[in-house]
């Protein structure tokens, strides 16, 4: 059996070593990517613990619990980053994207290694959908933070509200892909549609 910790070590070790040879933005990107993977492992621990506590089935945990836990834990590195240093808008967006990419990469690796033999088309669809979903949810949140910072109104209620939006988005995705058939295809398309939808405000904000 391959443990998730072993997968994390195997992927993270070369990435951490590479930090010795790169500087500035590249180094931050790698660190945020590894943080995303660590956040994914931590959220798996927390979800597993809560599953034992409440005694739900695996499907129910996937639909109801993991969106909440994953979105909250994904926030931790972003919040630490915001509190410790005050990154520029571009740097914040880059780090958020790296965080989401790291999270999605680790989740995909664990899913593929755990589910045995699956077709290439499914691997591609899942890889793209999960990747886009995690990137979109963190990127949208970081866009909200950037906008609030520009207008100097970083309100707690607004921030919690934005996190709730990403939880609902993630929950909807997990619900749709939980059953095979048409609903799962709609679910796989959902992150791409969301990515297309947030692109115009993203472009407008960067101007």
């Amino acid at each position: 059996m391959i443990y998730a910790e072993n997968i994390l070590l195997c992927i993270a070790a070369p990435l951490l070593l590479s930090m010795l040879f790169v500087r500035d933005q590249a180094r931050r990107y790698v660190l945020a990517f590894v943080s995303g993977m660590a956040a994914c492992l931590l959220s798996a621990y927390v979800t597993g613990f809560l599953r034992l506590l409440v005694g739900w089935e695996a499907t129910e945990v996937r639909i109801f619990l993991s969106p909440v836990v994953e979105e909250l834990i994904k926030l931790i590195p972003l919040l630490i980053l915001l509190l410790l240093s005050e990154p520029e808008d571009e740097a914040l967006l880059l780090l958020a994207v790296a965080l989401g990419t790291g999270f999605a990469t680790f989740e995909n690796c664990c899913t593929l290694l755990g589910s045995g033999e699956i077709g290439l088309s499914f691997v591609l669809i899942r890889g793209l959908a999960v990747g886009v979903m995690h990137i979109v949810s963190v990127a949208a949140l970081s866009l909200g933070i950037i906008a609030a910072r520009r207008l100097q109104v970083l309100s707690l209620a607004g921030f919690v509200g934005a996190v709730s939006v990403s939880m609902t988005f993630h929950g909807l995705y997990n619900l749709l892909v939980s059953q095979p058939g048409a609903s799962s295809y709609v679910g796989f398309c959902l992150p791409l549609v969301a990515a297309v939808a947030i692109y115009p405000p993203y472009r407008r904000m960067r101007r």
Binding site: V54, G158, G161, S183
Partner: protein
């Protein structure tokens, strides 16, 4: 009734998509954070509706232990409160008594939701965020001087009477229980109609946009409160009114953005 519920939900989803597109295309997002918060609130509400529809279609017989759409509702309440905070820039008139009464109303409503559903955690979380939105709405209405003194008293009396009637439905036997229930429904829709009676003329005569927005979000909050306390036809009617209020709130917000 189930078919009507699906149709209304699908219509609400379509309206929210149109409103989000309108928001993104027409609001400038430069002067204030209010349009950003409002757009996020619409997205949150849309997600919540989509989740509810998808859940009903995919798992019709399974009960939701704790659903992501409740987070969507919490998000909508907090983001709408943030919209009002941004529009009024945190400057609110003194409204100590009104806030205390609103807090009590929200707490009593949450207690009734728990009594009806038995879902402690989610009802407390939703109740807290809904109570916060109600407090911000009341402070905004006070700041914009939307109601006169006697109108505030009338609203307070109606809210108190509503809670009393809802409480009586737990204590009284049939047929009194049914009568108390009917009176509660009548009162809820009467207050909603009164809110619209104030909102529509304010929009038509292009009164202070801040007041229009505060009134629109008051009507929306009351419609949501009515939805949470109703079932079947009354739930659908309140849901329809909430969609109308969101549209009117967007009109008010656009006027507020255009104001010098």
């Amino acid at each position: 009734m189930e078919l009507a519920s699906y149709i209304l939900n699908a219509l609400a989803i379509a309206v929210y998509v149109i409103l989000i597109v309108l928001c993104v295309r027409s609001l400038s997002f430069r002067r204030s954070m209010a349009p950003v918060f409002f757009t996020f609130a619409l997205v949150s509400n849309l997600m919540s509706l989509l989740y509810w529809l998808a859940y009903d279609l995919l798992r019709p017989d399974a009960r939701m232990p704790f659903a992501a759409n409740e987070f969507g509702e919490i998000g909508t309440f907090l983001l709408l409160a943030s919209t009002l905070n941004a529009v009024f820039r945190g400057r609110f008139a003194q409204a100590r008594w009104e806030i205390v009464c609103t807090g009590l109303f929200a707490a009593a409503s949450a207690a009734f939701w728990i009594a009806w559903s038995g879902e402690w955690l989610q009802d407390i979380l939703v109740g807290l965020s809904f109570g916060y939105l109600l407090c911000v709405v009341v402070r905004s209405m006070k700041q914009a001087a939307v109601f006169s003194r006697w109108e505030w008293r009338l609203l307070g009396a109606a809210a108190g009477l509503l809670l009393l009637l809802q409480g009586l439905t737990f204590a009284l036997p049939e047929p009194w229980k049914g009568r108390a229930d009917f009176c509660a429904y009548a009162l809820m829709f009467l207050v909603l109609a009164w809110g619209f009676r104030r909102l529509i003329p304010a929009l038509l005569r292009r009164a202070d946009p801040c007041a229009q927005l505060a009134l629109a979000l008051f009507c929306w909050s009351w419609a949501v409160s009515t939805m949470y306390m109703s079932a079947d036809f009354c739930y659908l009617a309140a849901s329809f009114f909430s969609v109308c209020c969101t549209t009117l709130a967007l009109i008010a917000l656009r006027r507020e953005e255009a104001a010098p």
